[in-house]
């Protein structure tokens, strides 16, 4: 995989030699996350977020498995079993708050990871497959998170399940039948709760499987970098270990610092008070809102208030799913050969407008559906679709990118003032010296 100058795994101990000839797992790890994976030397902190997402998934799986030992997926006892975890299980409050806030941390990290990919053109050739698998992971995460939020069987759990499964009833003719089949009843109840628990336990392992494919696909072309310029030679790269393991270690520390602050001091800040009220099918909460990480999509759903050929509800559901599905086509919608927005003056402006746009959509999605927020959602949802489906394809053809550096090393040395002598990335490197800085 990747570059010819990648270091080769050399087992030193008799045991590792023996193992390498029979089941070369250490070689696989060495080549994918060790010294055998050459990575561009100029990655910034945004490249920490892939490893952080992996760490977040691991935290969710570990805390989740232990929580499942104490949780009972039955409508009559689910709420109380969660409260017994909070009160009677040793460190149960820690496990549950870690799992609930861990989900939020997972989404914070993954959203940053996605926006990094959008900004630096990591979805473009030859990394389209990495991007497509990433979108699959994102969809699986959303499904897992939604079903996990149903499990405590509070008011928001129940009514969230009611609203989200209600999307399927927007399908013409067969919608209601599909909804009832998915729920195993006319409304969320034991059947739904049990299957959600089953799937909530299954999907993280599916996610882990797709992550393996995601990393595999990444290792064919190797990692992108902030310049978006291809790796030209050995001087452009450093081995993943120890260079990026060290940097990721520090990144992980900062991640844990923020996670711990949230978990220990503001554990309910991102939750909704109504979910501490047991589910009650006879009492609808004043405002049904999903978890914060779904707010932008919830705002898009609610922005469609007019029937036009199709009913408004169907438009909303199509748009909400479409807003994510369109990401599958992004590598072919943005045809500019330049990856990094640093060298794309117009696309960069559109990118930051998109970031602001999604932030406003998020705010609107969490707010009550009053006229002001609906109008704001309609404007921002229109920009969201226009950005990906109309504006970006046009910009990618019309804009004149700024000149790209000849190589990663050139860009790095230019950043450092360009006066220092050219230096290879690795002091021990034996290949030809890097070209001098451009200026």
């Amino acid at each position: 995989m990747s570059f010819p100058w990648a270091k080769q795994y050399e087992p030193k101990l008799p045991l590792t030699r023996w193992l390498d000839e029979r089941l070369p797992v250490p070689r696989l790890v060495y080549n994918s996350l060790g010294g055998g994976y050459p990575v561009p030397r100029n990655l910034n902190y945004f490249w920490n977020f892939g490893v952080l997402a992996g760490a977040a998934l691991a935290i969710q799986i570990i805390t989740g498995i232990v929580l499942a030992m104490h949780y009972a997926a039955n409508g009559t006892v689910a709420f109380d079993s969660v409260e017994s975890i909070m009160r009677d299980v040793n460190a149960g409050w820690f496990l549950r708050y870690a799992h609930a806030n861990g989900a939020s941390m997972f989404f914070i990290v993954v959203y940053t990871h996605i926006f990094r990919g959008l900004y630096y053109g990591s979805y473009k050739a030859p990394r389209e497959m990495v991007w497509l698998l990433g979108v699959v992971i994102f969809l699986l995460m959303m499904a897992t998170a939604f079903m996990g939020y149903v499990l405590p069987w509070g008011q928001m759990s129940f009514w969230g399940a009611q609203v989200i499964t209600g999307f399927f009833s927007a399908i013409p003719l067969v919608g209601d039948t599909i909804r009832i089949w998915l729920l195993g009843g006319f409304a969320p109840d034991n059947a739904a709760l049990n299957r959600f628990f089953s799937l909530h336990y299954l999907l993280p392992f599916v996610i882990a499987g797709v992550i393996i494919l995601h990393i595999w696909a990444l290792h064919i072309p190797g990692s992108n970098n902030p310049t978006g310029v291809d790796v030209k030679g050995e001087q452009d790269t450093v081995p993943f270990h120890p260079y990026y393991t060290a940097k990721d270690g520090f990144g992980l520390g900062i991640f844990l610092l923020i996670f711990a602050s949230l978990l220990f001091f503001f554990p309910n800040y991102l939750g909704h008070p109504d979910n501490y009220i047991p589910a009650n099918p006879l009492s609808t909460p004043a405002h049904i809102v999903p978890e914060w990480y779904f707010w932008p999509f919830y705002a898009i759903l609610r922005a469609f208030t007019a029937d036009f050929i199709l009913p408004a509800k169907l438009w909303g559901v199509l748009a909400m799913f479409g807003s994510i599905l369109l990401l599958f086509f992004l590598p072919w919608l943005d045809s500019s050969p330049v990856r990094s927005m640093n060298y794309r003056p117009k696309a960069r402006i559109a990118f930051w407008v998109l970031v602001a746009d999604i932030a406003i959509l998020g705010y609107c999605g969490g707010a009550p559906a009053t006229a002001t927020y609906v109008i704001l959602s309609q404007i921002c949802a229109a920009y969201y679709f226009a950005h990906f489906l109309i504006i970006l394809p046009i910009i990618s053809r019309s804009e004149r990118p700024r000149p790209l550096p000849n190589s990663i090393t050139e860009a790095v040395l230019a950043n450092h003032g360009g006066t220092s002598p050219a230096k290879t990335a690795l002091a021990t490197s034996t290949t030809s010296p890097a070209p001098h800085a451009a200026h």
Binding site: A306, I375, F385, A386
Partner: protein
């Protein structure tokens, strides 16, 4: 081809959103939203200073005991506390014999069966019991309370926005309906059997004012039992019932943060050391 189809799909969504936007804007102009009594008169909870507030928060055990006394003598007549056990009271400073005495002297007994006949019966509470509900079931609770259901209080401070302050504000917020409000909204006169309280979401609450006069309970520690003091104490107690592990959580938090800070320092040093010869 992809780009052509995409632009058509994009244009369709933008068009439909444009139509929807037109409708929304027209709606705002032709039919502006009139203010409701709730939007005018509903108040956010007043700030409440408690020892358990903030990241350094700890429970004031004497206050929790006073709050428990208010719950026992006032709230428990109607409100259950079904997630809390008598044994939990040891965590707020009662000794084991005291907890035993509190349990066995509790007015509402624990549902049970007669060991001789198998018929439904009740028995005295023991420390491992949860607090028994004052009503046998929801129907009985509604029948006794003008068809309103007194909510369980175990989690009430986490089940409401700014819950601790909310409980305090609600208990001290009863007032007569302002004449000016009634003049503005003539049809919102508080119905018979309900009570005006601006901290309640729809302004009219079924619960009659529970704390009506200073000295309603007699504190053993000599604290003056004003209405404000009693409601503050019971809010503190209900903060504890909703989050009994708050102190352990804060303590574990500080230990974790210090540990992670040391880890960050070491990781930063390792990162700088590994990269010292590489420009990046």
């Amino acid at each position: 081809m992809v780009r052509l189809i995409a632009s058509i799909v994009g244009a369709a969504f933008v068009l439909v959103l444009g139509i929807a936007l037109f409708g929304s804007v027209a709606g705002v102009i032709t039919d502006p939203v009139a203010p409701t009594a709730e939007s005018v008169a509903h108040k956010h909870p007043k700030e409440l200073e408690l020892a358990s507030n903030g990241v350094f928060g700890k429970f004031d055990r004497r206050q929790l005991q006073r709050g428990f006394q208010v719950y026992k003598e006032v709230c428990a007549a109607c409100h259950s506390l079904r997630l809390v056990s008598f044994r939990d009271l040891q965590k707020i400073g009662y000794s084991e014999p005291e907890v035993k005495a509190i349990a066995s002297q509790w007015v509402i007994e624990q549902p049970s069966i007669n060991p001789e006949t198998g018929e439904a019966a009740t028995r005295k509470n023991i420390p491992s019991d949860r607090f028994p509900s004052p009503f046998a079931n929801e129907v009985a609770a509604r029948a006794a309370n003008n068809n309103a259901l007194p909510p369980d209080l175990s989690l009430i401070t986490k089940a409401r926005e700014e819950g601790t302050a909310y409980v305090h504000s609600l208990l001290t917020g009863y007032t007569t309906q302002p004449a000016a409000l009634l003049k503005e909204f003539p049809d919102i006169k508080t119905p018979e059997g309900l009570h005006y309280n601006p901290y309640f979401a729809n302004l009219n609450i079924a619960m009659p004012p529970p704390l009506t006069s200073d000295g309603q309970v007699t504190y053993a520690d000599g604290t003056k039992p004003t209405i404000d003091q009693m409601s503050t104490d019971v809010s503190a107690f209900l903060t504890w019932t909703a989050e009994p592990n708050l102190e352990a959580r804060h303590a574990a938090g500080f230990a974790s943060i210090i540990f992670i800070l040391i880890f960050c320092g070491l990781a930063w040093g390792a990162y700088q050391n590994v990269w010292r010869d590489v420009k990046h």
